[in-house]
Symmetry: C2
Subunit: 393 residues, 2 copies
Amino acid sequence: MGLSRYYTPTRVTLGPEAWKEVACELKKEGARKVLVHYGSARIEKNGFLDSILCLLDEAGIEYIRLSGVVPNPRLSLVRKGIDICRKNGIDFILAIGGGSVIDSAKCIGYGVRYDGDVWDFYSQKATPQDTLPVGCILTMAAAGSEMSDSSVITNEEGGLKRGCNSDVCRLRFALLDPCLTYSLPSYQTSCAVVDIMMHTMERYFTSGSSLPLTDNMAYALLRSVKEAGQKALRRPDDYEARAVLMWASSLSHNGLLATGNDTKGDWACHQLEHELSGMFDVAHGAGLAAIWPAWARYNLAVNPGRIAALGRNVLDISDSGDDMKDAEATILAMEDFYSRIGMPVRISGLGISLSDEDINTLAYKCSFEGKRTIGAFRKLSQEDMKAIYTLAR
Amino acid sequence: MGLSRYYTPTRVTLGPEAWKEVACELKKEGARKVLVHYGSARIEKNGFLDSILCLLDEAGIEYIRLSGVVPNPRLSLVRKGIDICRKNGIDFILAIGGGSVIDSAKCIGYGVRYDGDVWDFYSQKATPQDTLPVGCILTMAAAGSEMSDSSVITNEEGGLKRGCNSDVCRLRFALLDPCLTYSLPSYQTSCAVVDIMMHTMERYFTSGSSLPLTDNMAYALLRSVKEAGQKALRRPDDYEARAVLMWASSLSHNGLLATGNDTKGDWACHQLEHELSGMFDVAHGAGLAAIWPAWARYNLAVNPGRIAALGRNVLDISDSGDDMKDAEATILAMEDFYSRIGMPVRISGLGISLSDEDINTLAYKCSFEGKRTIGAFRKLSQEDMKAIYTLAR
């Protein structure tokens, strides 16, 4: 048993109209000139952006807007943001959106306080030491970036999607109003459910020992998200269900559910999915759903007891006394759940027809040209990656 | 549904020999001259204190020791600590111990940065605005003070035990080595189990709505602590059990298990127990065990469904379809569990024989001379307090 660390300094406010605290939070941070960073024209058109800017105006906080963040956020926009911040003396970044916007904001924050190329942090050439502070108004609950140490950016040159983990980028504040997610389309809600669950499942599939407390809380979160997801799909304005999804998105990715465990988890499915969406630009949650069953089948024999325990505690698999049998039932039950919420369980379900050459390319890139393995539950070589992509095809 | 807040900036390191990070953590904080604050002569005699001081010496960090903290930590020692800090230019307080030592350290921290009398914060005459930073090496898992916003101090003048809650006092770091609790005597381990469970149960008994995710995680924690407590009593050096208790002590009191709920919880049992241990100096956990059954019986009709759900999810009460019946069974099952781990379920079990006059005095003091109610699950007047003390007698 080694040391594990838990560090979540983000001030969270959860509840209806939490976003109205924005000026108060910015004042606490001493922010004077803010980059207001967001994605779509939707919040411009529906008046939500104006409501926020109005609060900033009233508080005498200056701002510059930067919109245009897309899912799998792009390095080119990040570079533009760094430039704007430097030229205008921006001292705080306010992200309004979901994981893509927050990740983009984190990357801009790193870049402003770094003399070299910000991509260095994502190509593992350098480690972030500083950032412009970032806070957020969350409008989509999925990625958990609002409390995580992670950001994922896509470099259009080469279609590389890469992550960077550092406590430096932990947000100063996160304003979580579940009502803002009422208008999320069903497909995105389902993607969110998978994304949230997978952040916990990646941590759950540790290679070594795990703390029973952490396991039990992981099961509690997974069950809660599974139920809330189905409720939110039936009734998109179910406050309780949306609040569960939103708070679970944060807790699932803030490190809580790996604390006390031997490793920080497996994360192979995330790496496999990153290559897939780097190449095909698929929705992250749907990509994870398409890959997990193949990953689980490929690794069934590694620790069938742990897969079976997941099924027994989360998916109502009754204990037959045979771990292998129950583990197989667990994978089927997870596929069944994913299917019922409209998620794919194969890559073909994403509308992608992978050729053998595609698979070779994906595995080549995912293994950093054969130079790294991924995973902790079981270390996966380039050949293993090919096998999983093939199983998932 | 109102706003709820979650703010836990403490850097936690959990695992064997976590305390060896102490110099590294103090350096991160820029500490140069530290008040090393602790309780008993035990850590002096067994060499543990020397091991820590050695690490400080090696790192070139100066220190002054202040020992003598007792359970229900005293204001007089706090005053002494404030004086030492001021006279010696102390810039950081390192607490080595459990809740009492950390609470004492928090109170010293407040006092050093306040011109008035530090008791003002505990008698609600003033609100803390600043503190000398505090970090800890935890040697006892129970109170959860290592991540909480709370400190409780006993003023010998009048035997007043009072709490102060403020985010200002959140610790900068907490080093959690479960092995340090192997030597904890059975009685103290049992007290710890009750204390940890009660921090979650106080939050669980909210007056309004609660988030299913938060309820499910509360059940998960309570079940885990119940199991780990029994294991630790059977085998005091069971690493896993001790780690569950230690991490649960932090999570139970850091605010996590009230987030998303309408209120921060009930806390009446804590207030009733504070008066009791202010007057009789009983162990906090044992005092809570002696009071909870009476509190629950007195409030049975308020929301039997919620008491019953606790029993069904934590104490293996099967759902009879009758909430009132299951709630009664829950209280009996909790009493049974407390008894099995050697905890009292009545005040007489603490060796205290309460007179009617004692009860009048306790209720008078607990109600701030009749000027306040306590509790949220149900607001309790001075008369209600008398009735509960009488039921618990």
